[in-house]
């Protein structure tokens, strides 16, 4: 910090707070970040408090409104982990069940498909005139445990064979909901392999990166994809309560 510039009062207060908390080494931009956070937080609290005050038909915001605003914000954004007794109880419950036995020779040991991120998150719209083997080449990658043709131990994603794909593609698939206008380019190996890597935008208009979105989105789209196909057994419906996660 150069001497001639005077630091604004906020920043001076922040520097003092950092010093009081024992933080001695920090980059100068930390102060800016802290101030930004402070400003944003206080603004949101005060705005909330104003809303509560007007709801209670008070003319001005008072301490109770602020307290309520802080409390609501705490429960929403700044949650804290569960308390210890709760955790102990849950742990006790969970630890009573014995460890499950491991089935031998099952290929890649992954959870059921609906809990994996291996499903496609797009569906190809068929172009009527071009229902040729070129379309069939775009395989819909799907991991079905048990139908993997390669040997166990090497998980692969390109499981289904060509014929099952063509049955899907043949009848026009009705797209409900999101529309993906995907022009299937003349098939090349790279395009096919790239459909499996979600991060590349080789296929146009497919905006979703399946590994970034929650699996729920994947469920939505695969639901649409597998309406007509027979091997959609595993993903019949969108499960709200799939994740009874603790």
């Amino acid at each position: 910090m150069s001497a001639p510039k005077t630091i604004p009062k906020d920043a001076q207060v922040m520097i003092q707070i950092l010093k009081d908390m024992g933080i001695t080494e920090y980059e100068p931009r930390v102060i800016n970040q802290m101030l930004e956070f402070t400003y944003r937080y206080v603004t949101s609290i005060i705005e909330d408090a104003k809303i509560y005050a007007t709801h209670a038909k008070k003319s001005s915001v008072d301490a109770d409104d602020i307290k309520l605003a802080i409390q609501c914000r705490m429960d929403q954004s700044f949650t804290s982990p569960p308390p210890r007794d709760f955790l102990l109880e849950v742990a006790r419950q969970k630890n009573l069940t014995p460890l499950p036995l491991i089935k031998p020779y099952t290929g890649p040991r992954l959870p059921p498909d609906r809990y994996c991120l291996t499903a496609p998150n797009y569906r190809l719209k068929t172009v009527q005139k071009k229902v040729s083997s070129s379309v069939g080449r775009i395989s819909v990658p799907r991991l079905s445990v048990g139908t993997v043709s390669s040997r166990p131990g090497t998980p692969t994603l390109g499981a289904p064979s060509v014929h099952s794909v063509s049955t899907k593609v043949g009848p026009p698939v009705s797209l409900t909901g999101q529309r993906f206008t995907v022009q299937i380019p003349p098939p090349s190996q790279t395009a096919a392999s790239k459909t499996m890597t979600p991060s590349t935008p080789a296929v146009s208009n497919v905006l979703i990166n399946p590994s970034l979105i929650g699996s729920k989105n994947i469920l939505i789209t695969t639901n649409m994809v597998t309406q007509n196909s027979s091997d959609s057994l595993k993903r019949k419906h969108e499960d709200e309560d799939d994740y009874d996660a603790l």
């Binding site: 569960p82 007794d85 849950v90 992954l110 080449r137 990658p141 090497t154 190996q189």
Partner: protein, 749 residues
């Protein structure tokens, strides 16, 4: 509530009788909490009035409070008696019955110390301790009758909070006057007492008194509690405590102290004098005094073991049997090229730490008594590829360099450039062919260390076209067009704090601040599964040495055991008071160690989730753990720049390695366990003589009953070498199968 109901009735009739001191043996007993809330406090706290109705206003309020309580519990006769004797007017205060009783019954914390029978402390403490049914009602009650709760809490067994400075100074004066040999032990009491008193003051909304108390006495505490005290100083209001789970846990759990019988007698005798009863009650409430017979410990011994947030470990916490031996290696037919003497029985069961060349030691089929049964926990069977791996491993093991004080390993340092301080985790595969780095920008990058490039498996369409029967089908399934030196894996939503390769090199795990642990395939370089369970940052993850299981630990203070094919955890290891920062499996996969920000290390049993060992002694959060290859010892490194060595079987600290000047982030034993390498933020790698550190211990000498540690100050002799890097902190260490040391860090100019 039965105990609670019994209590106040006694209170009314026996106001003058002081509470009996707790009996010996284990020091504390929470059964004594059933004593009436207002006996001794009433008699000694304020200006001496007992049952006379026309006492000072505080007593009047107390009587009213007791009256309400009795009314609430429908003890009408007692109510009448009390009213008659105390001469109280007939007007009774209304009480919201439901909220209080609901809160009271639901409020017993898991540790059960305050839940005994002390309704007042239940009521005063339950708003935060139990987040279950009733925070709202109790708050409402508190607003309507602020007197009740405050009064009741004031008349809990802890005496008047305003007099805490007086109590504390009194105790301080006493402890300064005892004999030297006892003083060190009794000084252990200061810190927990200070913290509990401060928290009590804050809890009762006595902000200025709390601040004054803090300013007066915080300077006396030990230096290694400085961080905690700083956190405490920022807590001045009751609302601040709401989000701070660690301190709430601290408040409800008992701080463990280990004191010799003589010192304890001294303390007890002093505190049971009339005017000192307050502290006695507080001590009983919050401290667990583990008494041992023997010599009082010296200051240095105490300092070695203390420092954690929960005091030391109780003796019986460290008494469970731990099977620290290694599992028998499976029998593998070896190709008979140059290992003729290698028979089919390839078993590795080291009992003692003899220097062993290969795993083909004893051919005895007897089970190592310290090793767990093969089927104790289900483990995946060996596939052909695993068997091939094992053969490779044994071949490499024969070419392994024998390390020793006069034969130090060479160190190869992998510096991550252009990471801009964003490199947060690194891991090597066991055969050192791949290196992965986790970054603060949520990416994971995998590099190939060998000249062999990384390739992806072909797409499904192309896989159909290859000839599945050819010999080199494993090569043909790879897509040469995608070969590159490194691959980037995108998917996480926050910085990646933990990385672990699977032993069969098929999978990579990464744990991140977004609360998920992701499983990536190293054949397709895509994400396979996201394991959601921690809803808070996951600080570390580790694959089991046998594959299939992995452990993760995070901000929610628990460690979870997962299997790759279950979307929910199999085991939850709960017990730490603060975040779990480091998780490691034992070589036999039956146990795992977790290091935490509460400065303890716990060893957990995978089979039933129990905590079998608690190791205290570090003075800062633990960031590095390493098991010795023979499974007997554990090394740990923390931000206090020390490496501590622990004997798992006995549950004792056996060594302390001082030398680093900054936090230690990586520890690794060499393949045969002779050398321990430690890497730290001070840009150095230090090599320590592990065989010497472990040889010195004579297990008969250990007074396991008292747990006295006689740590030798031999760090200098054990230090074999210090190797500086140029401004690159060392965050990962790995010994190759031939005992070459690889180190990794991000260049940080």
């Amino acid at each position: 509530m039965a105990a609670v109901q019994g209590g106040p009735v006694d209170a009314v009739e026996e106001k003058d009788i002081k509470s009996e001191p707790s009996n010996d043996g284990c020091g504390n007993n929470s059964a004594n909490d059933g004593r009436p809330p207002s006996t001794s406090p009433g008699s000694s706290a304020s200006a001496g009035s007992n049952t006379s109705a026309a006492g000072p206003p505080e007593d009047q309020q107390t009587l009213l409070a007791v009256l309400q309580f009795l009314k609430k519990n429908k003890l009408t006769e007692s109510v009448d008696i009390l009213r008659r004797e105390a001469g109280l007017p007939e007007d009774s205060l209304d009480l919201k019955v439901g909220g209080d009783s609901g809160a009271g019954s639901g409020g017993a914390p898991g540790d059960g110390n305050t839940g005994g029978g002390d309704a007042s402390s239940l009521l005063s403490r339950v708003t935060t301790a139990s987040s279950a049914a009733a925070p709202a009602p109790t708050k409402v009650v508190a607003e309507d009758q602020p007197d009740v709760n405050v009064v009741l809490s004031a008349y809990s067994q802890q005496g008047d909070p305003k007099l805490y400075p007086v109590y504390y100074s009194g105790l301080k004066r006493f402890i300064e006057s005892v004999l030297d040999c006892h003083r060190a032990e009794l000084s252990q009491v200061f810190y927990p007492l200070f913290v509990h008193m401060y928290l009590e003051l804050v809890y009762n909304n006595l902000e200025s008194e709390a601040k004054a108390f803090f300013d007066k006495f915080s300077g006396d505490q030990e230096c290694y509690y400085a961080d905690d005290l700083r956190v405490l100083s920022s807590l001045s209001k009751r609302e601040h405590m709401r989000g701070n789970e660690t301190l709430l846990d601290f408040r409800t759990s008992k701080f463990v102290l280990r004191i010799s019988r003589d010192s304890y007698q001294l303390l007890k005798r002093h505190l049971q004098e009339r005017q000192n009863n307050q502290i006695w009650n507080i001590i009983q409430e919050h401290l667990y005094i583990d008494i041992f017979d023997g010599m009082p410990r010296s200051k240095s011994q105490i300092d070695a073991m203390s420092g954690s947030l929960a005091g030391e470990g109780k003796r019986e916490a460290n008494k469970a049997k731990v099977y620290y031996g290694l599992l028998k290696e499976p029998e593998i037919e070896l190709p008979l090229d140059d290992e003729d003497e290698e028979a089919e029985n390839e078993e590795g069961k080291p009992k003692k730490k003899k220097p062993k060349k290969d795993n083909m030691g004893s051919k005895s089929k007897k089970q190592d008594p310290n090793a767990p049964a093969q089927t104790r926990i289900p483990l995946p069977e060996l596939k052909d590829s695993d068997k091939l791996d094992k053969i490779m491993y044994m071949k490499e093991a024969t070419k392994r360099i024998r390390l020793g004080p006069d034969n130090l390993p060479s160190i190869c340092f992998y510096s991550f450039l252009n990471a801009y301080q964003g490199l947060t985790a690194v891991d090597f595969t066991d055969d050192s062919s791949l290196i992965a780095g986790g970054y603060a920008d949520s990416t994971v990058r995998v590099w190939s260390v060998t000249p062999k490039k990384l390739r992806r498996v072909k797409s499904a369409a192309d896989l159909n076209l290859i000839d599945k029967e050819s010999d080199d089908v494993l090569e043909r399934i790879m897509d040469e067009k995608t070969s590159s030196e490194s691959k980037i894996l995108y998917g996480h939503g926050g910085p990646v704090y933990g990385i672990s390769f699977s032993p069969d090199r098929n999978y990579l795990l990464s744990s991140s601040e977004d609360g998920t642990v992701r499983l990536w395939s190293l054949q397709t370089f895509t994400c396979l599964v996201g394991y959601k369970g921690h809803n808070y940052p996951v600080w570390d993850t580790h694959f089991s040495p046998h594959g299939y299981y992995f452990v993760s630990g995070g901000h929610d203070r628990v460690a979870r055991l997962w299997a790759t094919d279950h979307y929910q955890p199999l085991r939850i290891f709960s017990g730490h008071l603060a975040d779990v920062t480091c998780t490691r499996f034992h070589p036999n996969s039956n146990y795992l160690a977790t290091g935490s920000s509460d400065r303890t290390i716990r060893l957990w049993d995978v089979l039933n989730g129990n905590c079998v060992r608690i190791f205290t002694g570090h003075k800062g959060p633990i960031h590095a753990l390493a098991f010795s290859p023979n499974g007997k010892f554990l090394a740990s490194g923390a931000t206090d720049s020390r490496v501590l060595l622990w004997d798992i079987g006995h549950g004792l600290m056996i060594g302390e390695l001082k030398g680093h000047t900054d936090s230690i982030y990586s520890l690794r034993f060499s393949r045969d366990g002779e050398i321990l390498a430690s890497g730290s933020m001070d840009n150095t790698v230090r090599l320590w003589n592990a065989t010497k550190a472990f040889d010195d211990l004579e297990t008969d000498d250990f007074t396991a009953a008292t747990g006295h540690v006689h740590l030798q100050d031999n760090s200098q002799e054990l230090l074999l070498g210090t190797y500086l890097s140029k401004s690159t902190p060392v965050i990962h260490l790995h010994f190759t199968r031939r005992n070459l040391l690889l180190a990794a860090g991000a260049y940080n100019p």
